[in-house]
Symmetry: C2
Subunit: 371 residues, 2 copies
Amino acid sequence: MARKRKNESGAHGNLDLRAVILAGGSGTRFWPLSRKKRPKQFLSVISKSSLVEDTAGRLKGLIPPSKIYTIAVASQTRVLKKLLPVLPEKNFLVEPEARNTAPSLVLATAVIYLKNPEAVVVALPADHFIEEVEEFRRKLLLAARIAHASRKIVLFGIPPDSPSTAYGYIHVSSRDREELDGEKFYRVRGFREKPDLSTALEFVQSGEYYWNSGIFLWRADAFAEHLRDFVPEIFSAWIKLLPALRNNERREVRRIFQEIPALSIDYALIEKVHGALMNPGDFGWSDLGSWGALYEYLPADESCNVSRDRLIPIDARNCLVFNPGKLTALVGVEDLIVVNAGDALLICRRDQDQKVRELVERLKKEGPDYL
Amino acid sequence: MARKRKNESGAHGNLDLRAVILAGGSGTRFWPLSRKKRPKQFLSVISKSSLVEDTAGRLKGLIPPSKIYTIAVASQTRVLKKLLPVLPEKNFLVEPEARNTAPSLVLATAVIYLKNPEAVVVALPADHFIEEVEEFRRKLLLAARIAHASRKIVLFGIPPDSPSTAYGYIHVSSRDREELDGEKFYRVRGFREKPDLSTALEFVQSGEYYWNSGIFLWRADAFAEHLRDFVPEIFSAWIKLLPALRNNERREVRRIFQEIPALSIDYALIEKVHGALMNPGDFGWSDLGSWGALYEYLPADESCNVSRDRLIPIDARNCLVFNPGKLTALVGVEDLIVVNAGDALLICRRDQDQKVRELVERLKKEGPDYL
């Protein structure tokens, strides 16, 4: 009982687990619900709360609010402070500009390193969905222990359920793994960026490839060592960043931040590191990368229509409708995505939701005010 | 030249032609654009002006504003006065309650009879569309002359282009007709209410059946004679109505109005009259009875999409979109009717637009506030 109480407060023996929620994204794959000024992580598409609130909420009792950080640009940080009022003011890390995840995570890890070099950082995208929260929490804690004990970077790889060409793949081998509390941790052999369909098919059939979830764990000090050993150009920024942060030299921090290449942390660091470990993240993960993905995770009526708003279907099937606060009547239609938000309405065949990207490209030229 | 100027002022020899625009309808076939408080005749679906404005506009130069009347209940009359400011205040006839077209036209004809018993009344539904306006005007004038000279009721019958089961049909015979200025006027043999499909098919193939357009002409005094000869129960109301109107006894007028059966003028009078005349109304008439009908009359883009609002189609075809003031993006869809209006959105397969009626019936029970 005493142990349980200790766990709920977020203490796990020597383990000082801290979360960094990457909340700076600006995708428009949920257009027209998501807009430049209201990116996906701020939308309430799965529950009544926003995706970033859900992301923080999954950590409740596992990591105390004092050890949960967000990182985003200033304008997004203002929104984050309203959505996550339990986090301490200083935990809302502000990135001087949006420069992809490598600069963000170097900065966040440096902030945490100054608190405790042995702390384990878990980097969490703000806009993903996890269906089996208890399983995720159990695995997260095990992965953190492994990251702490091994000083290795630990990743969650998602067992692929289709030959998707939209994800990066992690390559592992079943001959090369270790176990902790019955959990398998595979040594990462390599990464493969978004493959073509036939390659993706081979990957899935081989059983040796997992989707890269974007959830990573590392000890802060091990992170620095990896930079030193594998990415010296970023390590030089790191060693300047620590005193600038310690002395609260904001202009200097900004200058150093802008020195770091605007790359993803996957590409800048993780793919270069030898010996990273992967655990199969079979906890119902989705990056909610499209309207169609959302359709899979929301409860449907007896005609397989999904809507959280008032819906009257007449001979209508398999539709996803977002029309907040309004009534939608569907007559004789099927397999549609219908999204009515503000000054724009999208009607899209469900199997063509990847074309929303093409649409957004057209809007950049023909109607940027609608983005 | 002098004669032309005379015509433009609306004078046609002895002919005193006056129009009664039946503007009291409350249909919801254009839901969700049309609502209880904003019926179809007030919508701008074809041009930038409302259908009732278009109806009055077609008479310009043919009938002077002083001889154009509207009839509707008080609440609708307030809207009509704003839409048709050139009409004299007293020409906005107010019906005490909505009781179908027979009471309305008895009242309006009585008002006109008191001005000039020999005047010819043309009854015009406020919410129809006519594509070939000049041809309509030419025929209207000829029909008025025939109505004046013959004292008969004159109708326009629409040459059917499909075996519609939504219209009433007028039965005529080619052996039984007269001509005026080269125009054929057929003696009406009978009326057939909305037939079943196989009957409608026979009608269309026979060449002897026309759709009832709801556009009727009569001399005011002949109208009274027809009531006397064929509908004595309405004639008794008529003879009380004249002095009540002359003396401006509003409560008495209301009382008499409510005595008149709440029937259509077709059913109450025209179908009972012997010797009515029909002219083929081949001037591009449509009652705009459904969203699909509207699709036929509005200009389409190269992919056959119809929208007067901002539309971005990607692999989208044959869609009708109403989304006033907003952007609509269509991706991979075809043959849809999309109407976004206020608190309700309709997505309907174009060939199932008749189910909007079923939808409206459901709304009466499940969501009357949306009507």
